[in-house]
């Protein structure tokens, strides 16, 4: 009797708790709450660290940079700057003339001035701070000249010239000096001194004091110090669980008219929920506990779109992420270009697209997205799955088909290729299995090596693979492919993992980088695409779509192929449907 009373009491208690657990988000008068699903924690909100795409996304709501990217139009637009900078080339230097927005102000009411840009560049170049990534990004900026007449005007002096300088110069977050360095310790230290790679610099007393203050981890979790000129402020951050941002009651751009999309900030509250397991995230989305589910797995997306289209809107704009099958050009078996071409012909591209992308995704002849019509070389044919041609090419490359496999006369063992990919990735595994099957059909043996990602990057870096599946992240702005394809980017120097390249291709890449004239640039890009198509250091499999499901409560999603794939500040409540 007593026992059953206890059990009944427990059950009643649990159900009672459940009944009072919230199911709908509170809606304030000023704007809606948007709840976004993230697969992982941003790890650090320090504006100079930005270790991953999620940290960048959160940072763009807290801080502003000079320019920003407008997703749907795929263009850089002014953000803290009043207009796009004026570019001037003089001698061997490039000058970028900027003017800050006249109304731009920090939260304490002080206007944002050129002095803050100087301070930011000092912080980004200061040794001993976790700023290595951004430091290398802004390393082309040599000095800042502040206009003595107008504190909002300044000029960035850049080394050499490249057309990308204009866009890159506006991509770092501008930091408030009054919050980060209230004692103005960095003010007397010249930027030139900080840019030197000298260990003595970090021993200077003001710099050491600044480092100590800046590197306190707690200040980058404190809403009072983690605060920039962006429309949102930190409300709470429970690591690995939830990050909540709140709309500032007064933001400088509130009074700016007319309203541009870059300066919109409609949601009153943005919650990022960390849900690592895709099945759980899907369940939470269907229960209405989440509103936005970006980068959905293909099967979940297809199923939800078929069953639940009344509650959600679905978007799948093509992204700039391309999955490639990379080949180690320096591997003895793959040194002959015909062998590589044969391998590329053994991929059943159409089946692969069906099996992994569920009919979405876009094929391409090279690294450049077919969406970028001006740069894409559309007269090259898409490679087709063709075992007979692959066999013929293998024969031409000196391989002989034997019952044991393909073999060169001088070699004792038949050709066997090792395919590496990141373990635990379903898409890669499917691709690998399909490729293995079609290779087996012509008698070529392929062994699969799913590998832990840390180990895999070491293997790639040292060139210890034959084939490897990899995702490359591109963008529509820059065509500096030297980190990917230049010979000095092989190994520790960059990201050229296929070890492709020679003097001629290096020269082509360098010319491409410095060319501004779009006609010449197009010609060079097409030459590069043809070269890569013939040499096959990798064969592009598909451009992935950005699969996104958003609750129908929201309007103005502004989906795009660029990260993060949607425009959170623009979200507004959809008018109630009849």
């Amino acid at each position: 009797m007593f026992r059953s009373a206890v059990i009944g009491g427990l059950l009643g208690g649990i159900l009672g708790f459940t009944a009072c657990s919230p199911s709908a988000p509170p809606q304030s008068a000023s704007g809606p709450t948007v709840r976004v699903c993230w697969p992982r924690d941003p790890e650090s909100l320090n504006p100079v660290t930005l270790p991953n795409a999620y940290a960048v996304q959160a940072n763009n709501l807290l801080y502003q940079s000079l320019l920003t990217v407008d997703g749907p139009t795929r263009r850089h637009v002014p953000w803290l700057a009043a207009v796009l900078p004026v570019v001037e080339r003089r001698d061997s230097l490039t000058y970028l003339h900027y003017r800050l927005h006249p109304q731009a102000a920090w939260d304490n009411g002080q206007p944002i001035q050129a002095q803050d840009v100087v301070f930011t560049l000092k912080v980004l170049n200061c040794p001993g701070l976790p700023n290595e990534g951004l430091r290398s990004l802004v390393s082309f900026i040599r000095a800042v000249q502040v206009d003595p007449a107008d504190p909002r005007r300044f000029t960035l002096v850049c080394r050499g010239y490249a057309p990308e300088y204009r866009d890159n110069s506006g991509e770092f977050p501008i930091l408030p000096e009054y919050l980060i360095d209230p004692q103005a310790r960095l003010r007397p230290v010249p930027l030139q001194l900080l840019r030197q790679d000298d260990s003595l610099v970090s021993r200077l007393a003001p710099i050491r004091a600044f480092q100590e203050e800046f590197n306190q981890a707690s200040r980058w979790r404190d809403p009072r110090t983690l605060r920039g000129s962006g429309p949102y402020q930190l409300a709470s951050w429970q690591s690995g669980q939830q990050l909540t941002l709140e709309r500032k009651p007064r933001w400088w751009a509130d009074s700016v008219l007319p309203r541009k999309p870059a300066l919109a900030a409609n949601p009153a509250r943005i919650e990022f929920h960390v849900v690592p397991n895709p099945a759980t995230a899907l369940l939470a989305l269907r229960r209405g506990e989440l509103d936005v589910y970006p980068h959905m797995p293909g099967p979940d997306f297809a199923r939800l779109r078929a069953n639940d289209s009344t509650k959600f809107r679905f978007y799948s704009p093509a992204s700039y992420r391309v999955t490639v099958l990379e080949m180690n050009v320096q591997h003895p078996a793959l040194r002959d270009v015909r062998t590589r071409q044969a391998v590329a012909l053994l991929v059943d591209y159409k089946q692969l697209l069906r099996a992994t992308q569920y009919g979405q995704g876009q094929r391409s002849t090279g690294l450049i997205s077919p969406r970028e019509k001006w740069a894409y070389h559309d007269s090259l044919p898409l490679r087709a799955y063709s075992p007979p041609r692959a066999t013929a090419l293998l024969r031409q490359a000196g391989w002989q088909q034997t019952p044991a496999g393909w073999r060169r006369p001088e070699q004792a063992t038949p050709l066997s290729l090792r395919l590496f990919y990141s373990a635990g990735d379903r898409t890669f595994e499917t691709i690998a299995l399909l490729f293995q099957q079609s290779a087996r059909a012509v008698g070529l043996s392929v062994t699969l090596h799913p590998t832990e990602s840390g180990q895999l990057s070491e293997i790639r870096r040292n060139g210890e693979f034959d084939l490897n599946l990899r995702t490359l992240y591109g963008n529509p702005f820059a065509y500096d492919l030297r980190p990917l394809l230049h010979t000095s980017s092989i190994g520790r120097g960059g990201a050229n993992r296929s070890r492709f390249g020679n003097a001629a291709s290096d020269h082509l890449l360098e010319t491409l980088y410095t060319t501004e004239d779009s006609v010449t640039k197009k010609r060079l890009l097409q030459r590069l695409q043809t070269l890569l198509y013939q040499q096959v250091p990798f064969t592009p499999l598909f451009f992935e779509p950005n699969r996104l499901a958003v609750s129908r409560r929201f309007d103005q999603v502004r989906p795009s192929g660029l990260e993060p794939g949607y425009d959170l500040p623009a979200f507004s409540l959809a008018p109630a449907q009849p």
Binding site: S21, R40, G133, R287, S453, R482, L484
Partner: protein, 334 residues
Amino acid sequence: MVRALLVRTARALSTAWLIASAIFLLSRSLPGSGPRLLTDEQASPFGQQATTEARYQQRLGLQTPPFYFRLLPWRWHGTPNQYHSWLTELAQGNLGTSFRDDMAVTTHLRQALRLTLPLTVSALLLSAGAALLLAQWAVHRPRWYHWLLVAGYFLDSLPLFVVGMTLLLVLANPDFWPLFPAYGLPAAASPAGTLSWEMVPYLVLPVAALTLTSVPALFLPLAAALREQAPQLYVTAARAKGASRHRISWHHLLPNVMPVFLTRLADLVPGVVAGALVVEVVFALPGMGRLLAEAVAARDVPILVGGVLLVACVRLLAWLLADFTSALVDPRLL
């Protein structure tokens, strides 16, 4: 007895230190062991990658050799080395800071434990209680015992994520019974906040998943040991003296199988602090399991070593405790 306890505790602590040192050196010698700033997907501006990586390594203090010397063949490095600075910090009670966000390792561990402990402790207590009751109930019912045995083996063969996902898809699914929240914790549960009753509905499913999967490992050996003791003379004697079945079970049989039960229980205790990675991933809970797994994936050695040290200490202490409790029941065992 007290002296033996002290000696064993001291030995357990030095073993924990040995374990942490071993893992420190092991994690430094893994392939791709160092943390990398740039993954394969990110590239630094052209020609800057090597400098950028070098600056990163230098900031983390990874440019010095890992240990005082190297072996195979012998080479003396001396100080400064990474192990020396870790040990110096440890002597001052400092476990270092995370490579990823510069937060103190102790803060990370404390935050994760605040969530993990309620989860795992309640699961442990529930499964211990359930195993005891079930085993006592089954010992006098041979037919049921065999069915429970099969059920135990079945439950034990269920992977944790299958149990977790099944519970989730049945009890938190809008298509079936959406009784419990699907994931996470109430929004009010901040890392600095105290435990509140609001957490309870969020923890029901994870605790149930953990309990279901850990009952068989406790129940099976316990029931077997009880059944082995049941035909013994002292039980017959007790029964002859008119002791009730209840009394025989709890007062005569149980103390004799306590060592077996405690040993098995002690094996589950480290899981209390090590967390339950699978359950934490399925229910989106930020606990120790995820903290350690993410630290390994990111090669965040300070967090990894700190976590291992904690788990090793708890494991050794749990064993110590099990040995001593067994010795209290049967003093000859010490």
